[in-house]
Amino acid sequence: MISPKKYVRATVFYGFFAVVTSGLVLQDMPSQATTPEDKSGAKECYESIKGATELVKKDNVVPKYGYPNVKCSPTTGAVLWYGDPYDDTEPMGDMPTFGDHTDGDFAQAVIRTRTKHLKTIIQNGTKCSGCHPAADATTQKNDPRELMMHQDIVSNATKLQHGRGAIWCFDCHNAANRDTLVDHKGQEISLNEPYKLCGSCHGVTYSEWRMGLHGKRTGEWRVGGKKRWWTCTECHNPHTVQEHRFQPIAPELPPALPRGMTKDDFKGASGHGGH
């Protein structure tokens, strides 16, 4: 049993020892490899879904600190860090009131405009209605069939798994106006506000999202502060969500191994070792 007095003495002694000898000890300790950094930097980065949430890195968006809008990973192109969390956003606008505990303070909420980032729109240089005029609506039936186009979005439209066969394209896409979505009551919904559509079936998730438990926010931590809310389709691809709720992504590099050790030293399953 060490008495408190001895403990204090040992503490002082060890502290002194550490200071005096630090210069000598340092050279013997484990070193770690360099993390590759964002030097010239990928200019095209993605947030949650690769191929659907791309954005362009802009320099000096916050001049006070010389911050770019985002910092991206040189190995995966993932957005890692936000210099300006509200870059390229707009106010979320009106949210339906339910009169329950999910009614938060939405006044300062902002969202990113999805239509500016949708690949199909960007590639074609026109809105959906440019190719699909409203006149089409009467001739289109909402029955599963092979698609002539958009196989990159839905590879096999006859086996669309969202809703496990119970729904098809026009249950969510508005046949009368292809630039919008539509819910089961016929209410037109903007592509930028998918939560109003998704929430009509996924009620529990929707209420958790409204409370801030489901999904992602950036900005201020205070309740009612200015936050960017990630909307449903910024993390989930509704066309493939049954295969992957979240589309797998490439991870960042692992930490460096302690000097002189290999990965096999940490394969604990064959014996003792590792943590």
């Binding site: 050279q27 992602k216 590099l253």
Partner: protein, 348 residues
Amino acid sequence: MSEDKRKNDIDEGQDDGTTKESRRDFLKKMGVAAAVTTVAPAATAATTKAASIAEHLQTHFEMMSDSQKEAAIARLEKRYSEQFEKQVTVANTPAPDEVLFGYALNISKCIGCRRCVEACVRENNQSRDPAIQWIRVLQMERGNDTFELENWHKGSPSSSRIGDYGVQSGGHADKAVGISGHTDHYYEPEQVPEENAFYFPVQCQQCEDPACVRACPVQATYRDPNGIVVIDYNWCIGCRMCQLACPYWARRFNWSEPALPNEEMNPKTHYLGNRPRMRGVMEKCTFCLQRVRDGRYPACVEACPVGARKFGNLLDPESEVRKILATKKVFRFKEDFNTEPKFFYYMD
């Protein structure tokens, strides 16, 4: 990066480390020696990178008067700005009133992408070489165990000197029939999440009764009014007692002079947060103190692509963390140590 490449990097890093033991360090030591004997003002003519004599002799941050704090911050801003060749600010933003910071992490959502780790490094000015990281993501395979019937006789109890009575008496007890729950820090798949794996990120748990604070012999690490455990890097003597005391492996030590390229340095710093550290001091997660005292989410929260990380005020019943505590299956890591972490893990 391949294994070999990394090994080379490590070796190079070592070489650098030894050759860089330089004039600067020599001057620094000389400077301290001079200060102790004569308090000679002439000794401040060291290189721009070296801390000034005044910096070495300043008192504990919480014991400084306002004017002393101002002077200390001005000294640091000058040194950092010269070193990193840009305008660096060292804030002394006070802790907001009536706030207790808490964190919640959804382990059923985490995909192990390590973006939080990299975001943290960019925000908090960690050394890039040797690479210091405050967050470590552990990967566990579902059902990974080595329990096999054919191994049953290989485990303890084994024969011993008192006879083969099926009891273990002394000797090595390391012949397990099997083990389970092994975690891997170094997983490197093409894509995450992997099938049958789950992930457990660990960082400072910001304990209410922190073992590290108790262990520190000079009170260089302490709990701030918002419940964040901070370090006065200038007061730290580098004894590493806190590192030993911490049950969460949350603390990192600067064994060598931190290497931080100028263009990657985050110039918005706080005295108790992400200002560049020096060799021989401890560092750790501060919930991005320089951000949260200004109202921003920590960098790891903003980096998480799946929204598994939640942060807020534990004293506000409307905050996200409080709603998680009220509605989810929550646990704290190594709760039996009674360190009362304010970092909560939860499941959907």
